[in-house]
Symmetry: C2
Subunit: 224 residues, 2 copies
């Protein structure tokens, strides 16, 4: 039994949901909000925050906090579908790019994504245009780098689907929900994303709608 505390638009939590989907692990979702404390999560450990995964099984009860701990654990515990290759060099490249995505998109999430959420989900105020510009500029740099990888490789870290793909796709999907990804400038990345979107693990993300918001028209289109 797996229970996942997550906020639907959180890219780290989306990476976890995609990994659970790829590994065909069912879970009970519990929605949290990054701007409000969640008492059940807070009680798990000092400083605990979503994404948080509780699992109970043969090993007893496990409390896994943060996408790094959750994803490395899923990789160790459920080996039928691998998201980190058996080959050491490929594992290392996947981990490098997975981590690159999390670090490089942090500033985009803090600016562009946060402003969209403030405007459309929380409906608190108009977005701050300086933050939007800063985020959009950073996003263009990330897209260019990822496009160069997609031009040379079937998947971001090489020949196989890995956590690097899931992390990049998770980040891009949250931004794409609000129509903030200009796919026309990155054709190779667009083809890669079209392939990712077609995977069954992506379906729950594409069919999801956040209260009070409308997703960008092409958000769920497999042929966009």
């Amino acid at each position: 039994m797996i229970k996942l505390y997550h906020w639907p638009l959180d890219p780290a939590a989306r990476t976890v949901r995609l990994a659970l989907g790829e590994k065909q692990l069912a879970f009970e979702p519990v929605e949290t909000r990054p701007w409000a404390a969640h008492p059940e999560v807070e009680h798990l450990a000092p400083g605990a925050a979503a994404p948080a995964l509780l699992s109970s099984g043969e090993d007893g009860r496990l409390v896994l906090l943060g996408s790094h701990a959750i994803l490395e654990h899923l990789e160790e515990a459920f080996t039928a579908t691998r998201l980190l290759s058996n080959t050491r060099q490929e594992r290392a490249e996947a981990r490098r790019l997975w981590r690159w995505c999390e670090d490089a998109f942090a500033i985009v999430s803090e600016t562009l994504l946060t402003e969209r959420v403030t405007q459309w989900v929380r409906r608190e105020r108009e977005p701050d245009s300086a933050a939007l510009r800063k985020g959009a500029h950073a996003l263009r740099g990330r897209l260019t780098f990822l496009n160069a990888l997609a031009e040379e490789r079937s998947y971001l870290a090489g020949r196989h689907l890995s956590l690097a793909d899931l992390s990049a796709a998770a980040h891009l999907s949250s931004l794409d929900y609000f129509g903030d990804v200009d796919w026309s400038t990155v054709p190779d990345l667009k083809s890669w994303y079209a392939r990712l979107k077609s995977r069954p693990s992506f379906r729950p993300l594409l069919s999801e709608r956040i209260d009070g918001t409308r997703a960008a028209r092409h958000y769920a289109d497999l042929d966009f």
Copy 2:
């Protein structure tokens, strides 16, 4: 044979050096600078940056980029000394706090540490006082959280030394080099750090001096 490209004050690279020390793995260090490209590192992969570890051995040649990929690899390949417990719950807690350190100290490195380096290592200009204040404020928050953990646990993630301890100690050691950690406010964390400092793996860091700088008087003192 292990070769490590690293910048001596980079907390991520210090974490790697501490892990290599704990595992008693000798390596050839090559110094890089975050503000200047290093052609050998750049050629390793698109977007490659230090810390970068090259290893050649039974498995052939491996290129490991970024502290996440390097440290998870060292943990998989050299199991005689473990820095992530055998127990799944303890592994997860160590990975959570390791990652917490890297995320939570990012803003401190970008402000406080960067200003000290600009002032004392690069000797480019006087520090920006707003950045120093922002970094010092963030650092106080991190110290409070880590002190609360050190109050209850022998090591940050529980009963055993882990990558969480090495990451936290690495970040604090770079800041402590410039005298920026006020240990008087966090007595339990201070005792924990004194224990970390006494480990043989810490010696190379404590004896190191960066060109043109003087380390804070207590930096290398085991009894500070």
